[in-house]
């Protein structure tokens, strides 16, 4: 049975009594016997400890003492509240940021997809870098070629997006639909949660129309109503049966609401779709054949593609530099978010390192102050292990508290980071906070705690203990303190420079002149279901335009087919066209221009100046002479002499039907509606009156554009009931929306930079304050021999600045090294220009002066007599 302390004492006391008795019996005099027994007693204390330890295993004993040390630590930290607070908050920031970002990274980059055998599922795309088109998607003839010739891919799945007006899900509404062939779900490896999915039996022109609901649409819009399965709905011009609900999965390539079979979409059955090699609107997926690797598939796809290009040279102009690529779908989905998440993760890691080195500094300084106490304990027989344990107890308490606070901070941070990452990856939308967050926090806290406990040097029992309890700071300690502070400055500098770089980029993006009237133009999406409006479309639009124009506060009204920037990429790359009487030089590519449809008054409304000729007018209607307006860069390339007017152009792409000649009646300035920072924008505008396909409305207003949203919506509804009116915004707001990811990047990195700066300021102030308080005597002597307080103040300030200077130098070198190392993972990274670098340096230097002021003032206030008397 395990003895308690009393038993042990009794046993020892019993032994001593017997020992004394025996000595007396042997003839010693009682006093001597007592002395001898007491001499023995000294060593009995150690014996007693050994007896006790017999009953404990070493680790149990160690943990028990650690628990005691933790209690002691809590007690002693209560007397150092400022330190404890600083350390805990610093660590919490570091741990919280890391835990939050790691949760998102895990969900977005590391968690497997629900798709069966995700390692065999590839995504195929073609691009024409020469035409500035990264993803051209595929046409049906191209897909047929791949299906016939590529053997490394056992099955292909195709997916294209289209809008349907759906009647049958409550109110009539426009639904985003995917159109797929029967192999799609099998290739994607997805299962239904209700009913069945589209399969091979739903292929062909005679199959009935069927539709599968995506999980999101079914559970949110239809409230998870199971009775919808088997229901018949109207999709556009056809009637389709709802056959099932898809399991929750990452919606890729597009987040649609329903997925229908090919026969449902009349467009998909048309000759343009089936035979047009350049009619590209289909995404392509593939399952690797057994034994084939992604590399095999890539090689074979490329070979087949090269052959296709040779056979149909007209569909692949050389300047396009057409390429086909294949990636694992998983990587494809993660790719856009990968870089930004890795940057965030490293920013968080940097903050953690800064936080730890700052905490190390504070703890180191505290330990140095306690050297006297530790030396006394060592002299009294505390082993080095016991001293370490004392330090570990303290750092455990601090880091544990930091971790708890950090995890509390991380929970809301996860929501922020994931809504942020959701802009880059659909997967970030469903990030959940789970226990892994806690484990990351705990692991980080443990790392911090253990390394912090091992940083300070321990006094050994052998070395002479300091004769007095005043702080004696060794050169080594001082060097270490400074090293940590310099590390913080260096890392902070890197963060600030990165944040500064993003900020300057953002500012230049926001300041760039766009060529549009930014603030007074209100834009509305009027996604009219074309078939619903029929022949009356033009008249109704005209009615809407006229009535809106009559509203008070409205200057001009126009319609068009594209909202600048918001609809970027909607019409793919520029289309080829030709000009009557213009013969391209040998080998010259046929010219290309963006195809846009606008109504009369569009240019005035958006503030795009007319350079020559006239605007479209009401007479440019179907049946009248076909006309076009070209942009400045088109005119400059084809008519350097400035005689563009009255020449005739036609679109050579078969998508536009046969050769329809259009007379050029005007030249307008270039306005880049694809990019916020404008580049050359060769564009040819068609009159709405001759091509009545425009679903965007532009209203130039005199006063506040937003006040007009209500009246305009009323007018539109009045003319066409059930007409959705969506996403009303000014051009300036649209630019802000488009730049939101950039702004968020800049904002998040600035946040990290700010936290780092705050920590570094605390670090510098801490080191200097410590150094000043340790050198009170030195300052006393200096004052006594004639230094002015002012010179002492400057001396301390310059110490602070020197640390910052070294830190910035290290930061510049380290930053370049980091960039060089990171380049292999995330590709070439932009470099901050002089402005952000200088800005970061100035901010740091100013912060350092601020941080140094308090300790410096203290140095200058040293009282000579007291300082000299203190030792």
């Amino acid at each position: 049975m395990q003895p308690n302390d009393r038993d042990l004492d009794d046993e020892i006391r019993g032994h001593l009594a017997l020992s004394i008795k025996e000595r007396i019996e042997r003839g010693d005099d009682p006093a001597a016997a007592r002395r001898a027994a007491l001499a023995e007693f000294g060593s009995m204390m150690r014996t007693r400890e050994e007896m006790r330890q017999v009953w404990h295993s070493r680790s149990v004993e160690w943990i028990a003492s650690l628990r005691r040390d933790v209690v002691v630590a809590v007690r002693s930290l209560r007397h150092a509240r400022g330190l404890a607070f600083t350390v805990i908050v610093t660590l919490a920031l570091g741990i919280g940021a890391n835990a939050a970002i790691f949760s998102v990274v895990r969900e977005v980059l590391l968690r497997p997809l629900v798709n069966r055998d995700q390692d065999r599922l590839i995504y195929i795309r073609q691009g024409a870098p020469g035409l500035n088109a990264a993803n051209l998607t595929f046409s049906v003839p191209e897909i047929d070629d791949f299906k016939a010739r590529v053997k490394a891919i056992s099955a292909f799945g195709d997916f294209s997006t289209i809008e349907f007006t759906a009647v049958g899900f409550g109110e009539p509404r426009v639904v985003q639909a995917g159109v797929v062939s029967g192999s799609f779900f099998e290739v994607m490896g997805l299962r239904p949660i209700h009913g069945r999915l589209i399969d091979g039996g739903d292929d062909g022109p005679n199959a009935p129309s069927v539709a599968v609901l995506t999980h999101r649409f079914w559970s949110t819009t239809l409230n998870g109503d199971v009775s919808v399965i088997g229901k018949t709905i109207r999709l556009g011009t056809r009637t389709a049966t709802v056959i099932g609900v898809l399991e929750p999965s990452v919606p890729y390539p597009a987040d649609t609401e329903i997925i229908a079979n090919v026969v449902t979409s009349p467009h998909h059955m048309s000759a343009t779709m089936v035979t047009g090699r350049t009619h590209r609107m289909t995404e392509l997926f593939g399952r690797l054949a057994p034994g084939a690797t992604v590399e095999d598939a890539r090689t074979e796809l490329d070979a087949v593609y090269r052959a296709m290009i040779a056979e149909h040279a007209e569909a692949y102009p050389t300047s396009g530099n057409y390429q086909v690529t294949a990636t694992l779908l998983r990587d494809q989905i993660a790719a856009p978010a990968r870089t930004i998440l890795l940057i965030l993760l490293s920013a968080a890691a940097v903050v953690f390192v800064i936080a730890c080195s700052n905490v190390a500094n504070l703890i180191l300084a505290r330990t140095v102050r306690r050297e006297g106490e530790l030396a006394v304990r060592a002299a009294l027989g505390a082993s080095r292990g016991a001293l370490r344990r004392t330090l570990l107890g303290e750092s455990l308490v601090l880091c544990g508290a930091g971790a708890v606070l950090g995890i509390l901070l991380a929970r809301p941070a996860v929501a922020i980071v994931s809504s942020y990452a959701a802009r880059f990856s659909v997967r970030a939308g469903n990030v959940t906070v789970d226990s892994s967050l806690v484990w990351v926090g705990v692991a980080l806290a443990m790392i911090a705690a253990v390394s912090l406990a091992y940083i300070p040097r321990l006094p050994s029992a052998q070395s002479p203990s300091p004769a007095n309890s005043s702080v004696r700071i060794t050169a080594g300690t001082n060097r270490r303190l400074r090293m940590f502070a310099v590390t913080q400055v260096a890392l902070t500098f890197v963060m600030l420079a990165a944040a500064g770089m993003l900020l300057t980029t953002l500012v230049s993006l926001q300041r760039a002149a766009t060529g549009y009237n930014m603030n007074q133009v209100l834009v509305l999406d009027v996604p009219a279901a074309l078939e619903a409006m029929g022949a009356a479309r033009l008249a109704r639009y005209q009615q809407i335009i006229d009535r809106t124009g009559a509203l008070p506060g409205v200057h001009r009204v126009a319609v068009g087919n594209m909202v600048p920037w918001r609809d970027a990429g909607r019409f793919g790359p520029a289309s080829p066209f030709s000009i009557e009487g213009y013969t391209p030089a040998d080998g010259e590519e046929s010219p290309r221009a963006r195809f846009r449809i606008v109504s009369p008054g569009y240019f005035d409304t958006l503030g795009v100046p007319l350079l020559a000729g006239r605007d479209f007018n009401a007479d440019d209607r179907i049946g009248a002479e076909n006309v076009a307006i070209i942009s400045h860069s088109v005119a400059q390339r084809l008519f350097p002499g400035g005689d563009a007017l009255n020449h005739r152009m036609w679109w050579t792409d078969q998508f536009f039907g046969g050769k329809v000649l259009r007379r050029i009646v005007g030249v307008v300035a270039d306005a880049d509606d694809e990019r916020v920072v404008p580049g050359p924008a060769p564009t040819i505008y068609m009159p709405f009156g001759q091509m009545p396909f425009a679903t965007r409305m532009f209203v130039q207003t005199a006063g506040d554009p937003h006040s007009l949203i209500q009246p305009i919506t009323r007018i539109i509804r009045d003319v066409a009931a059930d007409q959705p009116v969506e996403r009303a915004a000014t051009l300036a707001e649209i630019r802000a929306q488009v730049l939101a990811p950039e702004r968020l990047n800049a904002f998040v990195l600035s946040g990290f930079g700010g936290v780092a700066l705050l920590i570094a300021v605390v670090g510098i102030a801490g080191v200097l304050a410590f150094s000043v308080s340790a050198r009170t005597r030195e300052f006393g002597v200096r004052l006594a021999i004639g230094s002015t307080p002012r010179s002492l103040l400057l001396r301390v300030l310059s110490e602070g600045l020197r640390m910052v200077a070294i830190g910035i130098t290290a930061g510049v070198i380290g930053g370049y090294l980091l960039r060089w190392m990171a380049a292999s993972y995330v590709g070439q990274m932009p470099m901050p220009g002089l402005v952000p670098l200088a800005g970061a340096a100035i901010v740091l230097a100013a912060a350092a002066v601020g941080a140094a002021l308090m300790p410096a003032a203290r140095a200058a206030r040293v009282d000579v007599l007291n300082a000299l008397r203190s030792e």
Partner: protein, 119 residues
């Protein structure tokens, strides 16, 4: 067993203390002080067990179940802990005794090969 220079006592070989304690307790329950005295007496004061080794050893043996302890009153009229051999302790003593005699004879043969030859 090296002789310590001052008092002519012998130092205990590593691992033999447990065996001596178990052997001593074969004569009946005894407290720690008594065990030390008995070992000294039986070895003509050549073996002197340090209290610093004796007490932790007693607790070690008790933890392993070879001894049992109970509280009694010593000759000095003090509360004292008496140790008693358990059945497991007796078996252990037997094992250690066997190993000890094997060790002694083996070492003896190595140290005095001539005498072994003569026998």
């Amino acid at each position: 067993m090296a002789k310590t220079p001052e008092d002519g006592r012998l130092e205990l070989l590593q691992g033999t203390l447990d065996m001596l304690i178990l052997r001593t307790l074969q004569w009946g329950p005894q407290h720690g002080h008594g065990i030390g005295q008995t070992i000294a007496a039986h070895s003509d004061d050549l073996l002197k067990v340090e209290t610093g080794s004796l007490y932790p050893a007693l607790h070690r043996l008790e933890k392993r179940g070879w001894l049992k302890s109970e509280w009694g009153t010593s000759e000095a009229n003090q509360r004292a802990k008496f140790y008693r051999l358990t059945a497991a302790g007796k078996a252990q003593l037997l094992r250690e005794q066997n190993r000890w005699s094997q060790l002694v004879s083996a070492i003896g043969r190595v140290m005095n090969p001539a005498r072994v030859d003569k026998d």
